[in-house]
């Protein structure tokens, strides 16, 4: 506020200092505690707190395992003495092949192929919504 406004502001503050907050009825705290003691806050397990995350990750893994049963680190064999860049090159080559196979499986699903990207989009949207809500809540708290 501008300096010239401060003096009257202090006057209002002084005048309001005579006023005290309103007081609720005498049994106010007791009534709240009665309600609260009936349902104590308990520490929820990690599994319960992240149930939706667990559900979606499990569902995603299930879908991937069902449609794309290629789970052996892309068939890489580790041999002592080879440079990491060699494995990186091998990995990228295998990953590209795996991705090509995966996409061809989508194509082989006919009219139903769009279900997987739609499901993934729904999951991502839900996760984004949750993240957004948490951010807004954290800002308001």
């Amino acid at each position: 506020m501008a300096p010239k406004d401060r003096q009257p502001d202090e006057a209002i503050r002084r005048l309001l200092s005579f006023s005290k907050p309103d007081v609720p009825s005498a049994d106010f705290t007791a009534r709240i505690m009665e309600q609260v003691l009936a349902e104590p806050v308990t520490e929820k397990s990690w599994l319960v707190r992240n149930q939706w995350l667990v559900f979606f990750v499990s569902a995603a893994i299930f879908i991937l395992m069902f449609y794309f049963p290629i789970w052996s680190l892309f068939g890489l064999e580790f041999t002592p003495g080879r440079f990491i860049m060699y494995y990186a090159g091998e990995f990228l080559g295998s990953a590209a092949l795996w991705l090509g196979n995966a996409l061809s499986r989508f194509a082989g699903m006919g009219k139903m192929w769009y279900l997987i990207p739609v499901s993934v989009a729904i999951v991502l949207l839900a996760a984004f919504d949750q993240a957004l809500r948490k951010t807004v809540h954290a800002r308001t708290a």
Binding site: D5, I12, L15, P21, F28, Q35
Partner: protein, 189 residues
């Protein structure tokens, strides 16, 4: 120090010591009730709103991250509940009549008020606050009685900081105008 006490008690509650919540209720019940009362203008409704807000705060205590003061977080719950209540019940209040504004300066009004005894001053100021719209009345309680910062009021009400500053400025003008009417000087506008 008081804020640290609040955090300590929040941690105690989360650790299973539910009785610690009584401390938080006792410490904040008056202002929580005052905020609700200033908005809904009915003691029974205000008490119910404040009570529900405390229970809701307790139930969602885990979502309180300590990024603001506990009181700020609690008062936001109370404020929102009271505002929602007024929207649902469509309360009516007597609007401030700006045509009745007089021509005394703020200093003259304060001088006139100073001639009254403390009890009369308190009665006049309270009456002036009651003439404000519900949300503005709550703002006065928070800023002048609770001495909440503009930033905290912004968090409680959801208004921007600059909006809170503008509102407080206008509220102050309105309070002086209402007090001017009440101390009996004729309006010349």
């Amino acid at each position: 120090m008081k804020d640290r006490d609040d955090i300590y008690h929040v941690q105690q509650i989360l650790a299973g010591n539910t009785a610690s919540f009584a401390y938080l209720v006792d410490r904040h019940k008056d202002m929580a009730f005052t905020i609700a009362l200033k908005i809904v203008r009915n003691r029974e409704d205000a008490e119910e709103i404040a009570q529900d807000a405390f229970v809701k705060a307790y139930q969602s205590l885990r979502s309180f991250k300590g990024e603001s003061k506990f009181s700020t977080w609690l008062y936001r719950i109370v404020y929102n509940a009271a505002i929602s209540h007024t929207r649902r019940h469509k309360y009516e209040f007597t609007a401030f009549d700006e045509n009745m504004i007089g021509n005394m300066t703020e200093d003259e009004i304060v001088e006139n008020l100073d001639q009254l005894d403390a009890e009369e001053q308190s009665r006049l100021v309270s009456a002036a606050v009651d003439h404000l719209p519900p949300d503005e009345s709550a703002l006065v309680s928070l800023f002048y009685m609770e001495e909440a910062s503009v930033e905290d009021i912004s968090r409680i009400t959801g208004l921007s900081v600059s909006n809170v500053k503008v509102k407080l400025y206008r509220i102050r003008k309105k309070l002086y105008d209402v007090m001017q009417q009440k101390i009996g000087k004729p309006a010349l506008v």
